[in-house]
Each structure stands twice: as C-alpha cells, then as structure tokens.
C-alpha cells in the first residue's frame, strides 16, 4: 500500500446520515460505505469496510487499531460542532456578559483544540508502538498522507459551509496488507480464505448463540399453546453452551482477548510476556 491512490480501492467507513461527507469521498475517488459507528468493529472484521477515517485518540479509545493496523496521516475531516443557545435565552444575558462569554468560549476552544491535538499525538505514538510490535515497524507512510491532505483540501473548500471547514488532525486507519508495493495474487487469495474462515467461524458462534436463546422461548411457547415441547431442548441448550464457549474462545484467541491477568500491571517486559501468552498484546 505505497500510495494513497491504493487506498481508494478499499472500502472506507463513512458516517451514516452524513450525505455531504459521503459524496465528498466519492467525488475524490474513494469508496465510502455509510455505516453507524457501532458497526465499525464488525464491519472491519467481516470485510464490509477496510478503512476508518478517525483520530488517533478515537482509534486508541475504541481499540479499532487492532483490526485496522496501518495508518495514513490525513489532516482533514469534516467535523461540524457547535454550542447552540436559543435567541430568547441569549437576549436575556446582559450585553457585557455576552462579550465575556464569547471570549471565554474562544479561549476554551483554543485550549481544547491544542489539548486534543496533544492527546492525538500521544495516541498516535501508542499506535505506532503497537504497529511496531505487530509488524516490526513497517507502517509509516505519513508523507504520502500529507500530500493527500493538500490535494483534498483544494477540492473540499468550496463544498462545505464555512463553519464546517476544520483542519483537525485526523488520520485514516486502514486494515489490510502491509505497505509493500502491492500483494501477490496468491497472498490475496490466502487472505480471502482466512477472512472467509473467520467469518464462518463467527457466523457459527452467532448461530449457536441464537439457537441457544430461541430454544427455551420455543419450548415456552409450545407449552403455553399446549403443543408438545421441542424434543431434547434442554440437552441441546447445554451442548450449545459448550459450542458458544469453545467457539468464543477460538475467536478470542484470534484477537488476543483470552481472559488473563492484566499483565501490564505486573510486568511490561515484552519478551517474557510474549513467551507466556504466545501472542503480543
């Protein structure tokens, strides 16, 4: 993934309901997929999306960088925000205090902006550390991101309302292959196979969980309506618990989320930890 043009081939998350942003991505040659924020994790896991435009801070907070391992520095985002006060309330405030409030709001905004950018940079550092551990430090392609920022900034200025023009530091976190130039067809096929296996494994776990929940309900309804109950439903539910537990454990192992003591509390040594866990993280 050496160039940002390559990222245009990937499916990118876009906020559902934000049509302006969606059209803007499309106009610049990207392939946005409108989704709710709650669907980001599942979308990345299932391949529905490959890229998330987000801040490093948010990527650190919701841990989406564990699924989308590579980051491109794009200092652009259509971030619209405001504190809205009704005119009736505003008019009740004495003239002198209004000026002071506006001044205080500007100062707070500036403090917030620099504070958020600092936190973003720190989160960026954490992400880099994580990527370095995961991929042996092959994930830095920021200069290309900066080039992109200039290119996109030229096209968006005329489209968004003045108040919506923001230049917050925001990065596109993308999943997928390491930033080597292209991937071989065979490796691509392998990735697809692994992804298909993961999806079917998840689907199996979800199906087991659903049947486990539905069987007692069906049994209840059957008894209430005077029909014969579902044969062996209790035993099935017991065995489905086993399925959910083991499939869940296998899935947890795929993302280093097996239940363990909080190793960071006791020891930060990466070598011994890796030896114990057989997985970084």
């Amino acid at each position: 993934m050496p160039r940002l043009d390559d990222m245009r081939k990937l499916k990118m998350f876009s906020w559902a309901g934000s049509n302006d942003e969606l059209e803007l991505w499309k106009a610049n040659g990207f392939h946005p997929v409108a989704l709710a924020a709650t669907d980001i994790q599942m979308g990345l896991k299932t391949g529905l999306i490959d890229v998330i435009p987000t801040t490093p801070l948010y990527a650190l907070w919701n841990q989406c960088f564990t699924l989308a391992k590579y980051m491109t520095d794009v200092k652009w985002a259509p971030l619209v925000g405001a504190t809205v006060v009704s005119k009736a309330v505003w008019d009740k405030i004495p003239e002198g205090q209004r000026t002071q409030m506006l001044q205080a709001a500007r100062e707070s905004g500036q403090q917030l902006r620099s504070g958020i950018r600092d936190m973003g940079d720190k989160a960026d550092g954490r992400h880099d550390e994580w990527v370095a551990r995961q991929e042996n430090g092959q994930a830095d392609d920021r200069p290309r991101g900066r080039r992109y920022r200039r290119g996109l900034a030229q096209t968006d200025r005329g489209r968004l309302p003045h108040n919506a023009r923001q230049d917050h530091s925001r990065r596109s976190v993308r999943r997928g292959t390491p930033p080597a130039r292209g991937i071989s067809r065979q490796k691509g096929r392998q990735v697809k196979l692994v992804r298909a296996f993961l999806v079917s494994e998840e689907a199996l776990a979800v199906a087991a969980m659903s049947v486990m929940a539905l069987l007692p309900v069906a049994e209840l309804v059957a008894r209430y309506t005077g029909l014969n109950g579902v044969p062996g439903s209790t035993v099935f539910v017991q065995h489905l618990t086993l399925w959910v537990a083991f499939l869940g454990a296998a899935l947890a192992a795929a993302s280093d989320r097996l239940l363990a003591l909080s190793a960071n509390t006791f020891c930060r040594l990466s070598g011994p930890r890796r030896c114990a866990c057989s997985a970084p993280g």
Partner: protein, 130 residues
C-alpha cells in the same frame, strides 16, 4: 505457552470425545453426543494454531512458539514419574506465566494436566472440568 497447553488440552479433549464415541450416546433427534462434543478439540486446535501464529511478526517468533509444542509431546512419551519433581518445576513456571499474561484457561488447564499426568490418571476429564 498457551499453544503448548492448548495442545495438551486438545489431546485430553480428544480422549474424552473418543470415550463418548464408544458409549454411543444420543443427545436428541438422532444426533450423537460425541459429534456435538467435537467442538472441544476443534476449539483447542484453533487456540493452539493461533497461539503459534500470533507469537510474533517474524518467522523466528512463530518457530520458537512452535517449539513449545514439543513439551506436551515429550510428556506424552515420557515414562510415568516416580516423584513430584516435575510438579515443583512445572507449576511455578505456569503460575509465573499467569502473572505475565498466560490466559486463565491455560493456567488452570496446564496445572490440572500436570497433576493428572503426575498421578497417572486419565486426562480426559480435564477439559470438561476447566
């Protein structure tokens, strides 16, 4: 370490499923119990594979993690121990690994496997109990 213990538990759960197969019990609707329980060795197999695969970005990391798989293999072929020396070595190693982040299931399962093996008891019940 997780992968090594998962392989041990894979073997134990396979023993358990085999014993269930001999019993030929039916859950319901003609479905054999052992078929449903196959998810146990499958789950441990996936954990073991992923434990090795995610050991590190380099092939060397994965190779070292794969070397740990020789431990359960060695225990399988090793003669029945006469004393408790292995327990005095194995249990502290597992507990230390737990502090370093070894998953809980591997901590409990690993200790149980060691205790069962040291006492010469069948290990088939370990995956069910842990």
């Amino acid at each position: 370490m997780t992968a090594a213990i998962a392989v041990g538990l894979l073997w134990a759960s396979w023993q358990f499923v085999s014993s269930q197969r001999e019993a030929n019990e039916i859950v319901a609707l003609g479905i054999a119990k052992w078929m449903v329980q196959l998810v146990m060795p499958f789950g441990f197999l996936m954990i073991a594979i992923r434990g090795v695969w995610r050991a590190g970005p380099k092939f060397a990391h994965k190779a070292v993690a794969a070397l740990f798989l020789l431990i359960p293999l060695a225990l399988y072929f090793a003669p029945q121990p006469q004393g408790s020396t292995l327990l005095w070595i194995g249990i502290p190693v597992i507990l230390a690994s737990a502090v370093l982040g070894l998953p809980i299931f591997a901590t409990l399962g690993g200790i149980a496997l060691l205790l069962f093996w040291n006492a010469g008891l069948p290990v088939a019940s370990v995956p069910v109990e842990t």
